[in-house]
Each structure stands twice: as structure tokens, then as C-alpha cells.
Amino acid sequence: MLTFANLTKTYAGGGAAALSQVDLAVQAGEIAAIVGGSGCGKTTLLRLTAGLDQASSGFIEIDGDRVTAPHPAIGIVFQEPRLLPWLTVRDNVAFGLGDQPRAARRQRADEALERVGLAGYGDRWPRELSGGQQQRVAIARALAPRPKALLLDEPFSALDAFTRASLHDHLLALWEESRPTVVIVTHDVEEAVTLGDRIIVMQPRPGRIYEEIPVDLPRPRDRMSPNFDAAKRRVLKALDNSLNPQHPPGQTAPAGGALWW
């Protein structure tokens, strides 16, 4: 379980807090999708969870273990693939397996590549891969050390719609295998509803949680179904309200009402 308690982050130089008193618990194996307008602190939240930045106050725990620095049980996929260009695809995937013997590293990396559908690409250079393939390698790299929690920071935003949809399927298939806790930040509402068990809508200045919307649709989700559409509308409505100061948090109409507004 990933727990955020009273989490606040103020960057040097002042201004509104990037993140203010965020309380959230993401259950083990849950997929939480975080959406929100720009400056709502969603990327800050992920960076704190990855241990790349320090919280100003409050804390983050993974299964009761405080996160103050990059944690072995937490993996992250960034907005860009961030592959190391001087390593082959296989060595990139094996980058986080430094503590293991060479043969085991290689085997784990090849397994991870196979799971993202890139078996046989191990000896290529990253530059020889397309953007979608590179992002799959980045996912394989994050999953290779078998983290308990996987963070994704707008991982598919630079890709075209078809590639994105196929990566959603890939990601869900991977998640099915080991059921890690997943926190995905996105600005794409459809992506959030496709993936998330729960959608966390955040609000800017200061960054805080505006509303949590559970999505109880069975997987695989049909993007054409009325229920999918209703969930999407509900998230959009919450997003709209979150950017409009006249609506304080938690005042969105309850689920039943929002379905037909």
C-alpha cells in the first residue's frame, strides 16, 4: 500500500505550494490515475514518491516504509523514455539489476523485453527504435526489478493515438501478471478512465486533491459503452469545477446525478 500523509511541497523561491496537505492511500494492486490542470502538483507528487525530491512536510510510505530517497520497491516511467543511448536495449532494461550476476541480469532483461513485445530487440541501440518502442523499453526497465509500486508520469503523452491505445493494453497485461500498485499521472481523461480503478482529480494553487472518482467498470473496458462515457463525463465535470474557484472540493453532484447531466 502506498500512503501519502499530509504531504506538502513548497519549492524554494516561494509562491503557492506545489502540493498542499495531500492525504491519499493507494491500495496494493490498485491503479490510481491522477488528472488535473497544469500546476496542480501531479508531477511533483510523483517526483516525491520516486524519492527524487524531498517533501517540505508530511510523508510517503510504501508498506509502512518511509520514502525519503529512491526506494527499491518503487519504479518510475518518465514522460520521455530516458533510455541511456550508450547502452543496448537489453542493457538498458538490465540497468536497475546491478546487484545480480550477469547471466541472471541478462535473463531477467530478456524476459521483461518479451513481456513488452520486444523480444529479439535486445541487441539494438535505443536510437533504432520508434518512440512507442522506446517507451515500452522504459516500462520494461522499470518493471525488471519487480517493484511493488510503479509510477508513470504522462508516459504516453508524446505518442499518437493508436500507439497509445496499444500501450494501454500492454500496460494492463503487464499489470495483470504481477499486480503492482500503479500511480499514473495523465492529462488525458480517456486514458485515466481506461486504466484507473480510481481517478484522483487535483486542483492547482496550491496543488491538492479535489475529488476521488472510483471507476467500477470491468476490464477490458469498452471505450464505446455508455458507462465508460459517463465516467469520462464525470471526470471532465470534476476537472472543470476544480479549475473554477466557485466550486469548493467535494461539491460535485453524486455519482448517480452526474451520469445524466
Binding site: L52, I76, R82, W86, L87, F95, W125
Partner: protein, 289 residues
Amino acid sequence: MTVQASTARAVADMESVAPQDADGRARVARALAGRIGGVWLVGVILPVLLAAGWELAVAGGFANGRLMPPPSQIWGELVRLAATGELWTHLLTTLWRVLAGFAIGAIAGTLAGLLTGASGLARQALDPTIQALRAIPSIAWVPLFILWLGIFEASKVALIAVGVFFPVYLGVMGAIGSIDRKLVEVGRVFRLGRLQMATRVLLPAVLPEWVISLRSGLGLGFMFVVAAEFMGASEGLGYLLVDGQQLGKPAQILAAIITFAILGKLCDQALVLATRPLLAWRDTVRARL
């Protein structure tokens, strides 16, 4: 009607032929340019013409060629020096000096560049001093080096090392400063320690710029070996130059200059070949460096 039709067809034919024709011409022009540009021989035309012209001018009595000997004489001098073994002695002496100085300067420059590049404190403490030393023309060190290290090999190697140090130092320090923060974060996420971060992220990231700085350092090494050998040497290609000047043997000077050119080019090529496997991953237009 039929006339109009046939005219129209003729016009259509011309229109369809003309672009094909232009296309064909462009293709021929491209192929021609490609063939000429692709063959390095095109760069040889000018020097060969000049050399042949001078050879003919001297042979025909239009110039006496005493101070500027014709190519045949220079070649003869090279052959003579090679036959007596002098050429190889001088060449190996010079090569040894350059390589020793290059090794010392490159290692010191790389380490100092890594230190000041990776640590803000080290940069604040050391970089101003190093930059001040860099502002001194390196030849100005010669009298001091000779006092300190004597007139034999040590002072020459030291001068070359100083010349090589600065471009390597600047290259490595600058390269570290421009490493992508995003890649460093990948290292942090996987909890690399300082040493691992240096060997697995920082060093590979600076490799391309390091190689470039080594190449310019090597070039400067050859420049400074001549300066060092001017200062008093009994062996080396630089000595051949001075000797040729003092005894009035321009053919020997030119033979030494040509040997320098070939030696420098071969060393540079060897450096490029030795480092090429390290840089196979790059995604750049000029992947061949």
C-alpha cells in the same frame, strides 16, 4: 478538331517529357557530383598540379629551386634519410615524446576535468587558477621547465603535457556540465552510488566530447613537440628542422615537415579508430566524427 486534339496531345507529351527530362538531368548531375565528391582524389588535384608545375619550372630552368626544392629532391631526401635510418630515429624520438606528453596531459586533464565538472566546490576552488594558468602562452614555460627539469627529455615531455592538458580539461569539464539532468535522474532512481553514477552515467555521457578534446589535445601535442625540439635537441623531427635551417638544407626541412604531417595524421586516425567502438551508439549526422 483533330488538329486541336493532336496539338493538345503534343503539348501533353511535351509536358510529360519535359519533367522527365529535367529529372533525368538532375539525376545525372547528382550522380556526377556524387562520383566526384565521393572520391577523395578531387582534393589531390590542386597539390599535385602545384607540385608538377614547380617540378617542371625547376627542370625547365625557369626557377633555380635552391630555397624551394622541387618534389623530386624532397622525395630523394626522404629516401636518403630513410635509407640511413636517420629518419626512423628522429621519427621515433618525436613520437615517443608526443605520446608520453599526451598520456600525462590527457590523464591529468581528464581527472581534473572530472573533478571540477562533478563538484561545484572543486570548480570554485580550482577552476580560476587553472584558467589563469591557461592564459599563459605555454611556450613561456620553456625556460622555467629547462631550469627545473634540465634540457633533456623531462622538460620536453612536460611542455607537451601542459599543451595537451588544457583542451582535454576544458572539454571534459564542459561536457559534464552539459550532461542531461534527466539521465542523471535515471541513475538516481536506480540508487547508484557516487562511483557507480560516475562510471555508469557520467563517463559514458561525456565520451564523445572527451574524444574530441583528446583529438585537439593530440594536435597541440604535435605543435609543442616542435617547440620543445627547437629549444635544444640532438634528435627528433624538430631537430631535423633546425639542422636543415642552420646548414641550409631546405629539402631536409621539407622532408621533416612532410613526415610531421603524415605522422600527425596517422596518430589522429589511430585515436579515432581506437575510440570508434566506444561511440557506436551515437545518433548523430556525423557519426564518423
